[in-house]
Symmetry: C2
Subunit: 656 residues, 2 copies
Amino acid sequence: MGNLDICTLFSIFSGVVGLGIALILYLAIKRKSPGSPLMIEISEAIHSGAMVFLKREYIYISVFVTVVFIVLWQLFTIYTALAFLTGATCSMLAGFIGMKGSTRSSVRTTQAAIEGGTPLALSLALRGGAIMGLSVASLGLAGLGLFFFFTKSPLIINGFAMGASSVALFARVGGGIYTKSADVGADLVGKVEAGIPEDDPRNPGVIADNVGDNVGDTAGMGADLFESYVGSVVASMAIGATFSSALAYMSLPLLLITVGLIASIIGVFSIEWLKRLSPQSALRNATYISQALFLLGSFIIIKLLVNNINIFWSVVFGILSGILIGLESEYFTSGPPIKRIARSAQQGSAPSLITGLAVGFESTILPLLTLGAAIFLSYKFSGLYGIALSAVGMLGTIGIVMSTDSYGPIADNAGGIAEMSEADPKIRKITDKLDSLGNTTAAIGKGFAIGSAALTALALFSAYQKTARLTSINLTDVNTVVGLLLGALMPFAISYMTLSAVGRASNEMVKEIRRQFKEIKGLLEGKAKPDSDRCIDIVTRNALKEMILPGVSAVVTPLLVGFLLGAEALGGFLAGATATGVLLGIFMANAGAAWDNAKKWIEEGNLGGKGTPTHAASVIGDTVGDPLKDTAGPSMNILIKLMAVVALVFAPLIMH
Amino acid sequence: MGNLDICTLFSIFSGVVGLGIALILYLAIKRKSPGSPLMIEISEAIHSGAMVFLKREYIYISVFVTVVFIVLWQLFTIYTALAFLTGATCSMLAGFIGMKGSTRSSVRTTQAAIEGGTPLALSLALRGGAIMGLSVASLGLAGLGLFFFFTKSPLIINGFAMGASSVALFARVGGGIYTKSADVGADLVGKVEAGIPEDDPRNPGVIADNVGDNVGDTAGMGADLFESYVGSVVASMAIGATFSSALAYMSLPLLLITVGLIASIIGVFSIEWLKRLSPQSALRNATYISQALFLLGSFIIIKLLVNNINIFWSVVFGILSGILIGLESEYFTSGPPIKRIARSAQQGSAPSLITGLAVGFESTILPLLTLGAAIFLSYKFSGLYGIALSAVGMLGTIGIVMSTDSYGPIADNAGGIAEMSEADPKIRKITDKLDSLGNTTAAIGKGFAIGSAALTALALFSAYQKTARLTSINLTDVNTVVGLLLGALMPFAISYMTLSAVGRASNEMVKEIRRQFKEIKGLLEGKAKPDSDRCIDIVTRNALKEMILPGVSAVVTPLLVGFLLGAEALGGFLAGATATGVLLGIFMANAGAAWDNAKKWIEEGNLGGKGTPTHAASVIGDTVGDPLKDTAGPSMNILIKLMAVVALVFAPLIMH
């Protein structure tokens, strides 16, 4: 057994340890008090709603995974098929563990706020988030390590990424449709028609809405970042495999993310200490600590393993561009632009909508320039491999990034539970504060998710070129141009599908909530209970039904282009899809978040605060932005990666 | 003098005759009665407002044109610079004549409705539109013919297209900002705050609003289609110049558009006869007649000149895809999708906005597939030359297409004048009917404008490849990928600039109208007159100021990419820009028009009609859509063509 094999075993071992820590965190949190009987009842409803959705979603996905498993087995080998199955399973497992962690943590965060105030609640919520964060990082690392140890074949390991991508697609799209249908449905009837506040227990849709937060922001985001993480490593391996000292260059990304996982674990536990310095910036500082450690470790490993400092620079560009894109999206979704939107709301909803669209367009400029600079520099320093490694650099510390991301919905849900269980208003104040701490990391996280998706897609695109042995993807050939146009069209087509899906599914929800308010006597007076389960059932069924068309289109279209128009045309297709996908993704995510935060800024008492026409105008922007930022926008992340992975896996067949 | 020279002289002669017919139409219309003194006063205000804008706009453009003239002279030859100057002048002249025609025709259309009812008013309005339509086609033909006759050099004639493009940019962007700032400003204060109806003479912004219709829909659209028309011919010539029998292939596009002009003139006069058969579809049938004649003539010319039937097929694909894209955009902006938007408005403005966005996304699918099929087939039949000739085919009958397009704003303005001059309501009914006849052609026209812009941009992209002698635009090279990303970003960046510009300019307008309502005593009671000139001045100044940044960016960015990253990267840049530009252009134009027509459908009495919350919700969608469909969307058409033309002109310098 060579040194590299021992290193790989160490990577797998680290993954297992990381997963162990996640489980210990979970068990420790489960032992905390879940509060009063009412709180337990509410949290059980959310927990079981989330689990019902997840289980049914996984059944749908299993059908798809089985079909693809057989196809891959027949077209390639059983090993590729097995890698695919394992990738899909790891992603689902991470989602399952993370979701359990989130739903168990939120009620205990409310209780911790009651028992120990902000500091206790903060660290509980963050540990809850770390269950997801560490599961994602550890399962990815262990799974990749295992297949690398036994096969050393990128053609097999690519299957692992395709498994991760397939699950991500359905989780993001299905989850996105779920969360927004529930949200829009509950708000339209509850807040607007019945005039009861948000998170009011009389609203039959409110549990579904809270379930949606977990389904979209936790499970969806987890699967998304898991896909990027795995994709960036797989792309590096596929390119590294074409080098003369292939094994070292294939091992490198695996070792880098091993260091990243260790750095993330240190980051998670550093919060205990950081929160005493400044609770405001504890989450962010923990991320910076992890990234600094990761950078240091990367330098040492690259020096020892391949002794090529140019490659280290590519990693640095990846880390830096990840941080920059996060900050850029923070600026546009919580900086001066949201005040611009709020001020134009003083003239009515239409001006604030137009301003929001303009802000969305504007917010694409800096991230695209950042991405362009990152791939340009990474390439100049170390070629296509450099592009892939910059993606690994960006995603290496996924453990801590995902932990702070998952923290958000836990804090949000904790607030919802406080409201529904009619807790002391001062408890709601604490949870609101926790929630607002999470808003910044959420903005950064969403920007990061798109940025990393783009870089991963470009890395996979590079890997596809190498695997299909393309020396040229020539835009003077009409097939490539047609491929490019079709690729560019895909994000628009998928946005259409997901937005219409939200419209249809929320319509069903609206009908049901209206029916309950009408038919259940005493519901509005608080004397009878709503039938939350029926709402959950309706929105689950619709979300899952609606995710099939966009899901299947995303898998089938690149294959059609590849087999009908050729390998070069498929290259053009991927380039077109990545370019428009990133732009549209950033546009929708940031416009949506900016409208949301403009409304929140007004609600803080600015420009007259709640109850003014300005506030009412800003609410419309927020509602319009919701499906953009939580359904269609995030779907872009998956779309561009999945299509690139499908191309990568099928490259050996398409090139013939 | 060879046969081809005689043919060219015939083309120039046809252009001069066409222009003569346009002038005769103008003089004939000017001799008609402009109606009552009040009508004359109003129409004079609109006329002089439009002329003030046009003159000031042309002064701004002249500065730009002078600078570029000197640059081209120094870098190339005086002939390229002169071609540029002539192209710019022809475009401005067409805009000037067309605008005179429109503003003179609209008041006489109102009067014709009073004197002779629908038939008389219809033919007057259409003849008014034909002034613009025939000017555009004739000036383009004569100008191109002249430079071809004397130089035979595509490197010089390319300058003509760049001149046309530069004017188009400023006319479309400046005009688009003008028309929407005036519209939004007048509506926000007049309709919403003061509660007076649209086109009410007490509103200080109403004349500016009516001026805006001419500035945007007539002058802007004219410059846009002029650019496509010229661009498609120039692209064909540049590619044809690389063939062995170059002269024949360079003459062909010129002869084709000569036939197209003759066919258009016949189409214009056939309306007299067609309107007796069915006034509803007279405009559309006239277009079909012209296209059929054009097809027949093309077949004969291609047979005689190059005897290559494959090339004829490329022309056919161009004509067919133009018709298809028009019909597709008609479906999405007046078919079942608008009812879907209207129905979701029953649940409030946010759902109708989301549905509208979904319709916008959906509406990109068919046109993109149509375009993809057109270039694929054209290329398979006759290579890059085929792509360029399909654009010529699409644009050959621009004379009749532009005539029916210009008809719309004339009918619209005629209605406004009827309203403002407090004419008999039954006159308004006639003008409303004329207006609705124009709505369909307007929807088709807008789709056609984008489709032809895309095909022209692809043709210019092909010509760029040939001129820069690129055998490859390789997406496995990072420079090309970065170029592609930057290109894809441009449409998003320009959309940001134009949308923000409308926001700022309409704000200035709102302030001024509010001031007048407050400070001018007796204005609301109709006892005092508003200061319309001041409003026109403010919106003119702001629109012109705001068009500079997007205009200069569009010219400078492709040069930066070309000189810094190289000729291949510039190729990637153009491909990326064209793909996202077309998609975003279609999305914005169709979403905007669909919201507009959903509102109109409700106003016809559906779903409760005017005064209901459903109607109020639909008004918000309409207002949001306005700057999308009339400012940012149309800017995309110009952007993609202009950047391709700039690349084409500078190709000889960039390739070194």
